[in-house]
């Protein structure tokens, strides 16, 4: 590519174009004005979405990345703009989401002088980024951006941040772009070792009661087909983690449901009965394992994992397979025997029956007068033929939606798993809709979480983002209230809320909206929302003091999962 003499700001935009970026979420301010000025000339090539808060911008970038598999890009100004990104960075870090953030910074001679809107962004974001870098001279920009994309997208993905001093944005230099494909200090993934695969296959081939646990890593590696093939060939039942949702269709005959604290009864109980556990792209989070000392002690553990630091971190692996899940699964498929485990699978189905009778039926087909979150989720899923994208917030509604929403395609579930960030759903749904404009996108939030980023209704209205927003209103910080009820003698300390008129708020933003308070209105209301061409806010008033079950109480073993209080 021939060089051309341009400003650092223009170089930012051209570098992003070189990386194939066509979507940016952001919020301007003094220290990033030159970059926004350069952006003004490129509105044919990139669409910038002005959110209502920088946290909204980064969650939108995360949602975009989750559904497309491409890095989300986000702009913010120095000082408060950059610090508003921190929650999103921490969220993307713990959930391995590729996000590239560009922040403006005060001019380099002012660094360290407590200049207006100066904050040590590189210092502040160090623990919550996979990599970050401060640019103080225009000619560093192309290389920094190229490195940023390489690092964000490869290996175990994660957020990166480039902080660009204002004088570097103004500086003129000869622009030339070269993609970064290799850094000697960074090995994105280990080549898969055939001996490790063989050792894993031997354990799997000898197993009588094997269980596959799969997570986000399957989708990050685009290994959904390989996972399905392994399951099909070996006949092994498979359970997903919260972030593994949608990597396999919900109705796949060997999908035995969700692991963890509010997961399904079968996979939790059977974790402590399996003789072999094969975990694929998951990291044994404490919400999955419960009490580690009592977790799968009887089982041999096969762990397919891209990040060497995850192997043996929580659960010791008898047969680790280091590397990209797509490649290791492919090699594993070639080494395992065709098999079936009919009797073992029947045991899961027996558990399903118990769970259905004790919990699920009354959640999704309630007979009590008040509405349940479960029936709302069921209807939303049914009315979209189980083929929509689900974006959830955090709390009871997140767990209920994760349990009862059904998926047909991968990359259809967007939620804040590791960090549990309330306020995530609304902005993440914006990114998901922009990334997948042809799919139905639901944002489900509680009355608490919805109000944490409610201002993004402004963004949704401005760009007419056709998101179907369902506010499951129990007038409580429900999940905290549930814990107070179960473990703090019903002392409801600061969890009840006096909520605003959500429909009124939606209408004030110019959005279509309605409120449902009884069962006979529910189906029609969901249908009206789906038939409406454009964004819609549906408030559903649900039972105030419903609880999410089953539950692995904090500190208990997965086999001590309880079905009712």
């Amino acid at each position: 590519m021939a060089t051309q003499r341009i400003s650092g700001s223009e170089a930012v935009i051209l570098s992003l174009l070189e990386e194939g970026v066509d979507t940016i979420f952001g919020y301007p301010g003094g220290a990033i004005m030159p970059i926004y000025d350069a952006l003004y000339d490129y509105d044919q090539q990139v669409t910038h979405y002005l959110t209502r808060h920088e946290q909204g911008a980064i969650h939108a970038a995360e949602g975009y990345a989750k559904v497309t598999g491409k890095a989300g890009v986000c702009f913010a100004t120095s000082g408060p703009g950059a610090t508003n990104l921190v929650t999103g960075l921490a969220d993307a870090m713990i959930d391995s989401i590729p996000v590239v953030c560009i922040t403006g910074q005060v001019s380099s001679p002012l660094l360290g002088t407590d200049a207006f809107q100066e904050s040590d962004v590189v210092g502040i974001t160090m623990p919550v980024t996979k990599w970050n870098y401060q640019v103080t001279s225009a000619d560093e920009i192309p290389e920094a951006i190229a490195k940023a994309f390489h690092i964000a997208n490869t290996g175990r993905p994660g957020p990166v941040l480039i902080d660009i001093a204002k004088d570097a944005q103004f500086g003129m230099f000869d622009f030339e772009y070269k993609k970064c494909t290799k850094l000697r200090s960074y090995l994105p993934e280990h080549p898969v070792d055939p001996f490790q695969v063989k050792a894993a296959a031997d354990i799997i081939n000898a197993a009588k009661k094997p269980l596959i646990l799969f997570g986000h890593g399957v989708m990050i590696a685009h290994a959904e087909a390989e996972l399905k093939e392994l399951i099909g060939k070996t006949g092994i039942p498979a359970a997903w983690t919260l972030l593994g949702l949608s990597a396999l269709p919900t109705d796949h005959p060997l999908n035995v449901g969700m692991l963890g604290m509010h997961g399904n009864y079968g996979p939790n109980i059977k974790t402590n009965e399996a003789d072999v556990i094969i975990s694929v792209g998951m990291r044994f989070d404490d919400r999955v394992t419960g009490k580690v000392a009592a977790y799968a002690r009887q089982a041999k553990i096969v762990h397919l994992e891209i990040d060497p630091a995850e192997i043996n971190k929580i659960i010791k692996a008898d047969a680790p397979v280091l590397g990209n899940a797509k490649k290791s699964l492919r090699m594993l498929i070639d080494n395992v025997n065709t098999n079936s485990h009919e009797e073992w699978i029947k045991e899961f189905r027996a558990c399903d029956k118990i769970e259905y009778d004790k919990v699920i039926e009354k959640d999704i087909y309630p007979t009590q007068s008040g509405l349940t979150m479960g029936e709302v989720v069921r209807i939303a899923s049914e009315k979209t033929n189980h083929d929509a994208i689900l974006v959830t917030d955090v709390g009871q509604q997140q767990m209920i939606a994760s349990r009862y929403f059904k998926f047909s395609q991968p990359r259809s579930n967007v939620t804040s798993g590791g960090l549990g960030t309330m306020g995530y759903a609304l902005p993440a749904a914006m990114g998901a809709k922009i990334g997948m404009p042809d799919r139905v996108v639901f944002a489900m939030a509680g009355d608490g979480g919805f109000q944490m980023t409610i201002q993004e209704l402004g963004t949704i209205a401005q760009y007419n983002l056709d998101i179907k927003i369902i506010v499951l209103n129990n007038n409580f910080l429900g999940m905290v209230r549930q814990w107070q009820q179960l473990f703090f003698e019903k002392r409801y300390s600061f969890t009840e809320m006096k909520n605003p008129d959500f429909v009124g708020i939606a209408k004030a933003y110019g959005l279509a909206s309605q409120k449902v308070t009884s069962r006979d209105q529910l189906e029609t209301a969901v249908q009206e929302m789906l038939d409406h061409n454009g964004p819609y806010v549906l408030e559903v008033v649900v039972e105030k003091e419903d609880n999410v079950f089953p539950m692995v109480p904090a500190g208990a073993s997965v086999s001590d999962i309880i079905l009712e209080p």
Binding site: W131, S185, A309, K313
Partner: protein
Amino acid sequence: MKQEYIITVFSEDHIGLLSRITIVFTRRKINIDSLTVSESAITGVFKFTIVIRETPDRVEKVVGQLEKIVDVLKVFANTNDEMIFQEIALYKVSTEFLFESDKVEKIVRNSGARILELTREYVVIEKTGHSDETQRLFDELNVFGVTQFIRSGRVAITRSNIERLSVFLKERDAMLEQVD
């Protein structure tokens, strides 16, 4: 059981890396007993020598987390007996003690220390050794009164005749070829 470990971090030369490295320890509430940074035998590759007291299991996990840092090339953890290591200490004592008797001079000579600078007011003594040795000299001199004392971080090298990193860099090149 906790014991002393020497952690050697080889990295690219980047500003901010020291912070990223120390965060790995502070986040886990691991105290860094000593830290030394210098360029290695390979130009452009920096070496952090970090001493901590920890259990083998925690050390293994810390090494894993350190190696995840993008600009870190390779991390080694060794117990003391696996490495040759030294620290340097400087002591300042008042010159009058040197002339009052030959005791100070004897202590200096017997401990293998040396006098770096001698003025009318003070003597600066230098001693290289393990921390128990430099500490012993401190205790002996402090009978007279040490007015200033400083001990460096640890420097350490392996007992093998090659730089471990060169081997690593060759393997890394081969792996990077293999993954694309």
